[in-house]
Each structure stands twice: as C-alpha cells, then as structure tokens.
Symmetry: C2
Subunit: 236 residues, 2 copies
C-alpha cells in the first residue's frame, strides 16, 4: 500500500520521528515487562527503576509532537505522508500512556512488596501481561514494516485479553472475600490487572492508527464488547 516516491527532505525528517517511536515502543515494552516482574517477585528496587524511567517517555512524546508539527509546517505533506505524521502524534500518545500504566503497576508493586499472594494469581497476572506484550510487539513490528495484514487478528487477541482479565477479576474478588486481610493487596492487584488490560487497548488503538495511516480507511467497526468486568457481581 506504500506509495513509492522520491526520497526527500520530508522522508529524512519523518525517519527521525519513526525511529523515535520505535525507541519509545521498546521502552514501553520494557517498562511493562519489568513492572509485572517486580510485582510478581515483590522486587521493590526494580519497581523503583521503572517509576524513574517514565520521564523519558513523557519527554519523547513531547519531542515527537513538536517535531511533527514543525514537519507539517515546513514540508506541508499530503495524503499518506500527512497521515504518517498525524499517526506519529497519536501513536506516541498511546505509548506514553502505556508507560504511565507500567509506572502505576510499579508503584503498586512497591506498596504491596511486603505482602505475599497466591501463586495462581501471579501466574494469571503474568499470562495476562504476556498477551498484552505480544500485542504491543506485533503492533510495533507492523508500524516498522507498514504491513497491515496482521492487524485484524490483533482484535481477536484483545478479546482473549478481556476474557483472561475477567477471569482474574473474579479470582481476585473471591480471594478478597475469603481473606479480609488481603483486601489492600487484592485491590492493588485488581488495578494492576486493569492496567494490563488497558495496555492491550492501547495496542489496539495503535493497530487502528497504523491501518488508517497505510490505507486512508478506518478499520472495520469495533467488536461490540471490551472490558466485561464492570458488570461482574459476586455475592458472598
């Protein structure tokens, strides 16, 4: 779908932005992976490093926004070139949010690093994070290659994330009901699970942006359901 055109000053400046987004993506993945590892292993030192790293993503998003606006003003790109630049602004915003969610998990990891929780919950969180990270990796690969063929299947995987999150949400509520002393840590784990589910949503947003950049069309309408947990009721 890429239109072939002469390499220009525009391409050079766009390449800077695209590379910077690749670097943001790598850092966002690392933050998520490390924050979940810190949570599961009660590793407060690692969690503190994740919290500190978040500033870099904030700066990168601002830099990309500034460069993108300067690039539009200077080169007045059209059609796909323009969509590329606008897409970069959107994607950097999603990646910055992914970093925030990683930081939030890391803060909660610090708060509950003194409490232990059942191995089954840790496994559930790790599996959920693996799936969300796979989404993020695939979408960043698609961004780098411009290949839109695999983007549709990402939505199916986002559905899996939602189902896994729903199951974890139920487990966590049950766990808290059985042991009132676990309510604080259970609550933090609920928010961590929600954060991971939202990382999957941001990956889906990025997939939709890439599709739009490459084709000029919106992806087929959203699947009807997202997070199912707002409707969960468990009675004791």
């Amino acid at each position: 779908m890429n239109s072939v055109h002469i390499v220009s000053a525009f391409d050079g400046e766009l390449a800077y932005v695209v590379n910077k987004i690749g670097a943001m993506g790598g850092q966002a993945e690392r933050m998520v992976e490390q924050s979940v590892r810190a949570l599961v292993n009660a590793d407060a030192a690692l969690a503190r490093r994740v919290v500190a790293d978040d500033l870099l993503l904030d700066e990168a998003e601002r830099d990309i926004g500034d460069k993108a606006i300067a690039l539009i003003g200077r080169r007045q790109p059209l059609a796909q070139d323009l969509r590329q630049v606008i897409g970069a602004i959107r994607i950097s915003a999603d990646l910055e949010r992914v970093g925030d969610l990683g930081k939030n998990i890391a803060k909660r990891a610090i708060a509950i690093s003194g409490a232990s929780h059942p191995v089954s919950l840790n496994r559930g969180l790790e599996s959920l994070a693996e799936l969300a990270l796979l989404q993020l990796k695939d979408v960043l690969d698609a961004y780098a290659s411009g290949d839109v063929t695999k983007l549709a299947q990402m939505r199916d995987r986002d559905e899996q994330i939602d189902l896994m999150y729903t199951s974890l949400f139920r487990q966590l509520l049950t766990f808290m009901m059985e042991n009132a002393r676990m309510i604080t840590s259970g609550t933090h784990l609920l928010f961590c699970a929600k954060n991971i589910e939202r990382i999957g949503d941001h990956a889906t947003n990025i997939a939709e942006t890439i599709y739009y950049v490459q084709t000029g069309q919106q992806m087929a309408p959203d699947r009807p359901q997202g997070d199912l947990t707002p409707s969960i009721v468990i009675r004791k």
Copy 2:
C-alpha cells in the same frame, strides 16, 4: 494571544471543528453527570441511556479526525492555525476518553444497582464528580474563548481531586474490610472513583493542549504527584 487575521475558508472550516468539539464537550459532561447520578441513585434506566450515548462521542471523534486531516491537506495552515487543528485532534481524543469513563461508571451503576452503600460514600463520589465536572466546564470555556489566564489554577484543582480521591479510596477499603459482603460493590465504587479522578486528568490534558495552541509553548512542567493511591496500604 489570538493573532488577528483575515476571515478565510480556513476559518470557516476550523469553526466547524471547534463547534463540534464544543458539542462533544457538552455531551461528555452530561454523560459524567448522569452516570454519577445513576450510580448514587441506583438508577439503572438512566445508566443504560448513558451507555447508549457513548457511540455518539466515538463517531464525533472520528469525524473531527477526518475533517482535521482534510483541512491540513487542503489549506496547509501554519503556526497557530496548524496548532489549532492538531489541538482539535488531541482534545477530541480526550473527550472521547471522558465519555468512555462515563460509560464505564454507568455499567458499574447497573451492576450494583441492587446493593445499597453508605450515604457518606455517595457524598464523597458526588463531591469528587462535581470537582471533575467543574474542571471540564472551565477547560471547555477556555477552549471556546481562547483565554489561557485561568488554565494554571486548574492544576491546583486537579491536586484537590487527587486528595479527595485518596481519601475516598481509603474509606472504600475500610468499608470493604468491615463488611466482606460489600467487596463486589466496594470494588466497583473504587473503579468509579478512579474513573472520576482520570476525568480530572483528561481535563488537565485539555488545558495543556489549549495553552500550547494559544501560546506555542508548553505549560510549566507537571506538578510532581498525580494519583497517590497506588502507594496506599491499610492493614486490618
């Protein structure tokens, strides 16, 4: 700070986008106000209307994105005109997210409409929502007028929202510890409170975008703290 320039085709097309954002803002405010009312009054019928309304905001965001890109391509705006168009894309994304958060509160209102919770918690949620709605109102006024003088004080109010949210978070945890049968509804209320806190964050994002559009500068750096609750530990 507004630069005076000749009324042009660009202005006419920009006015469409600005008006559409005003309408999105009004709808987002209504969704938040109604979702919290539905939650506090256990009004499932009202909550269902809020859930249905969310589609309109999704469509409006897509429409603004399409119009903004077409506008840049056709009119090739520069400087503040360009920032206006990019700002519209950003602000419509924030308002769409505010609508999502309202919808999420509404879904939880439906789930727990059969359970009653203490009046003090309802009051807390209402006060939090009032403050967040005030932020949203002020920021939409600033967007319409282009007046940036009141934007800095919004950050102070966002700090108040964070403090109020922290206090509510503690109350909810304590409430769940005292009554294990309230864990499901307490959890939904925790997420509702978090959603309202995030609505305040989106209002702050919008304030920062308006400041950038009007002045070409970034607002002074973020205040150091946002949500304080990830660090809360309450032991039974």
